[in-house]
């Protein structure tokens, strides 16, 4: 099967209170399939009362968000970006972000799975952005998020996931290693990406074994949340608004470059490249697929749960409860992986699998020094 097909994946991160608005907008526009996943974005809390101002380290308030994902034809990209922006008023700081990525779809999907529309829209959002995807042990996203927020780098999004890797070769002993992971995503200007990555690696000690995994992914266009703290207004406009206004004035985020704020990395890191294979299937069936993939060298992956919604439930070809696995493999291994998946019937009725990939220009993990596959 060589049904490789280019598509666009739109990711929208929307404040929970606006979820219903977005869902109804999606349904109104006949977007049949969309994914939903809960997550949170941390915001710096207001300064404490009176003497508590002493401590400069703000406390963090977690705002619940819903992460939407829609696959669409390249032609519909602008339409969807506009749709999300209008539905959730994403130009107001604090409401959320939306961005698009290019994906290669490797499996056949129902015709309405990939949304398409003739209508042309003006391109919105900024280009030249890069996303950073980071997998951390549960609980360690918080301090990193705080530092990211305090430096004003970006507004991170955190969701929960489970990791497989070393654990699964241990047998029952695996229960001693926590599989719970946190997935932290930020979107920054491309020129900042390397520094942002370096920053997270330093703070999260990702250069130590078993601490996590990080990679950057290219983004087409994006409109980003700028709300960094709950701090009340001291000026006519809040900092978030000023930033947001300047963004729009310049039409890009170049002016926000702040590479020099980051500590220069003391040593050269061994980055590697590859493709991110995203497998999406019925909940509780990804495990068997991963077991088969281990034979071709895919040792670790991150699994998270999401919900595949369908606006007309009678026609839904998929079970709503879904599992997503992100696995990073060297590009040359991709055909092998796909053929293994086909071999075990991953795309069949039983597991309702979907697979797509995206290019990863730069990734880092402790193990990358030893082996290329990861």
């Amino acid at each position: 099967m060589n049904s490789k097909r280019k598509a666009i994946r739109i990711t929208a991160i929307v404040h929970r209170d606006l979820t219903d608005l977005v869902i109804s907008a999606l349904k109104r526009n006949k977007i049949h399939y969309f994914y939903m996943e809960p997550g949170r974005y941390p915001v710096l809390a207001k300064r404490g009362w009176l003497l508590f101002d002493f401590y400069q380290n703000h406390s963090i308030i977690d705002t619940p968000v819903t992460i939407f994902e829609v696959a669409c034809e390249p032609i519909a990209e602008n339409f969807l970006l506009t749709l999300f922006r209008d539905a959730a008023e994403l130009n107001v700081p604090g409401h959320g972000s939306v961005y698009s990525e290019t994906i290669d779809l490797h499996s056949s999907v129902p015709t309405d799975y990939i949304f398409t529309i003739e209508e042309k829209n003006k391109a919105i959002g900024f280009s030249g952005l890069t996303g950073v995807f980071c997998i951390l042990p549960r609980g360690s996203a918080e301090p990193i998020a705080r530092l990211i927020l305090q430096n004003g780098v970006a507004v991170p999004t955190i969701s929960y996931g489970t990791g497989t890797g070393l654990r699964d070769q241990l047998g029952l002993l695996r229960i001693t290693i926590p599989k719970e992971k946190e997935i932290l995503k930020i979107v920054v200007h491309s020129s900042d990406a390397e520094h942002a990555m370096d920053f997270i690696i330093e703070v999260g000690r990702l250069d130590l074994p078993g601490r996590g995994f990080i990679f950057e992914f290219p983004i087409g266009r994006g409109l980003l949340n700028t709300k960094v703290s709950l701090e009340g207004p001291k000026q006519a406009a809040s900092m978030d608004q000023i930033i947001s206004a300047l963004d729009q004035l310049y039409g890009n985020m170049d002016w926000r470059k702040k590479s020099n704020q980051f500590r220069q990395s003391t040593r050269q890191r061994n980055y590697f490249e590859g493709v991110n294979v995203v497998l999406n299937c019925k909940e509780e069936s990804i495990e068997s697929a991963l077991v088969s993939l281990r034979k071709v060298g895919v040792s670790s992956s991150t699994i998270s749960l999401n919900k595949l919604m369908h606006s007309q439930s009678e026609l839904n070809a998929f079970t709503p409860a879904r599992e997503v696995a992100n696995l990073l493999i060297p590009k040359k291994n991709l055909p092998e992986v796909i053929s293994v998946l086909e071999g075990i019937g991953f795309f069949g009725e039983e597991t309702e699998g979907i697979a797509y990939t995206m290019e990863i220009p730069r990734a880092f993990s402790y193990q990358s020094k030893l082996t290329k596959k990861k």
């Binding site: 915001v43 308030i61 705002t63 619940p64 047998g171 749960l305 439930s313």
Partner: protein, 634 residues
Amino acid sequence: MARNEKEESIHIGLRETITLILPYFQKKLWGQIKAVIWIVLYLALFQLFVLRIPIKEAGLITFGISAVVLGLTFFLEGLLLGLMPLGEALGLRLPQKLGLFSIIVFSVLMGVGATLAEPAISILKACGSKVAPWDAPLLYFLLNEGSHFLYLSIAIGVGVSVVFGMLRFLFGFSLMRILVPTIFILLGVSIYAYFDENLKFISGLAWDSGAVTTGPVTVPLVVALGIGISKVAEKNEQSSAYGVVTLASLFPILSVFLVGMYFSEKLPKPMPEEIFFKQGITSEQAKLLLGDSHGVPLRKKTSLTLTSNPKEFYQKAKDNIVDALQMAMRAILPISIFLLLFLTFIIREKIPYPEEVFLGIGFSVIGLTIFNFGIIFGLNKLGDQVGGKLPSTFRSIELVDSTKFIPNFNPKSVLKAVNEEGKEEKFFYLKERKSYTGIPYHEENWNQKSKIYEYVPIHGPIFGKEDNLLGYLVVLVFAFFLGYSATLAEPALSALGNAVEETTVGTFRKSLLIQSVAIGVGLGTLLGMLKILLEIPLVWIIVPVYLFLLILNTFSKSEFIDIAWDSAGVTTGPITVPLIIAMGLGIGNQMGTVDGFGVLAAASAFPILSVLLMGMIVEKSRKLSLRDSELKEK
């Protein structure tokens, strides 16, 4: 159960295995120590520094408390590994494979099964022996001869509520639609019962049994099932997996009332003791009330714990261990076997990670055994000691358990003294260590034959005179902190907290939930204590509180409503219940109340309040993150 462990870990040497297991075990154990330490420290320090009575059998209690900690560690880990994944897997598969009818049948079976397994129900029965049949015949009947009716009604109540909960997930309607009518019916029934001579006494029991049913086995299972079902339910977009637990603690209240009403007709009305023994009841009523075996009605029971010799003690300890094991097996095994069979034969699905599930079930059994044992030997003993002596803050009480026997007592040493009113009183001096203390002399304690004088020390009132206000206040403050610190250790709450944190992706922290629930339980216990001290009818507490809750609900978000109401059912579990009841009975005995029930009902109503209020505070900051503050100010 863990027999696979060695075979599978061949590649890993013993040393590596230990380096893996030790920190893991340490971490889990430390978590439990942190949870239990507060209640233990609190009880111990209160007894030592406020009541100023040394702790009896301190070594045994320490041992028991370590058992509680160890047991909790195993049990919770077992729940996470075994029962919860099973429940969730079932929840995921059920709607896909079976029709609505089968789901309903399954839900009823599971609710009933899980409840009958719940260990805390037996505590209710233990209180039954303290009720006199003439004071409250219906209450006596339900707790003694008719206790199986009580159990069954509670279990069916839970079964029905699981059905409603599952239907709610499948069709995605809001919890309030079931909650509001249920509460109104319950309040109505309670008010009706308040005016009925016989039913009046069971309303405390009914509300308490609602609180007791949802314990460490039911809650995680039901929550996990809910999480599973709500994931696959199409119509449930704002997926919330909660709300079943609260139904499971409300419906049994109703079913207990219904059973009570049924038997109320057949049983005699409350009457004075003399009439009861003189042809006050018909033989038919007597048969129903006291059973066939009881030819002779019961006498008043004397509840005196006697010190026993070591041999008896070991026998007792052995019996206790066997009991604890049996209880644990009864709680865990039937329900897990039922779930496993259902999953493999009816749904025909593989169990996810079978060896992990089996290990988990094994852990749960081991954990619950050690835990039960520890509760009997550690916490209950400590709780009873403190609870029994608590009234000494406002009244003088006899310390029966520290009775001293003075051999070769010479009555000639008795002296006379004059009290404030000029009356003569007898006393003698006792030399203990190096100091002399005056001890009042009572003729009846002096055994002329054995020449032993039995001296029961009298303690209190610690704060001023008899029945002083400060003493009562100390009791109330004690009640608050008892409820608060016991809740921190409650295993079901911890399991719910984990589930909440997981499903809300960390926006609703476990610690936040536990803290706010604990404050609520504290307040509830305080009010329950007030109920006993002032003899307020339960209705007067329940009705306004629940009405207020319903009003508060309209201002809250459904996310918080579901979690808040669920946390109410969860709060009262194997740690809180015995401690609160011990305290309730201790005070109740001093005050001469008929039934000590109702404290738990109050203790599980207030967490709803505190969680809802906390939700409002959290919500406010979330709103801030959404809105532009400037826009609002314009």
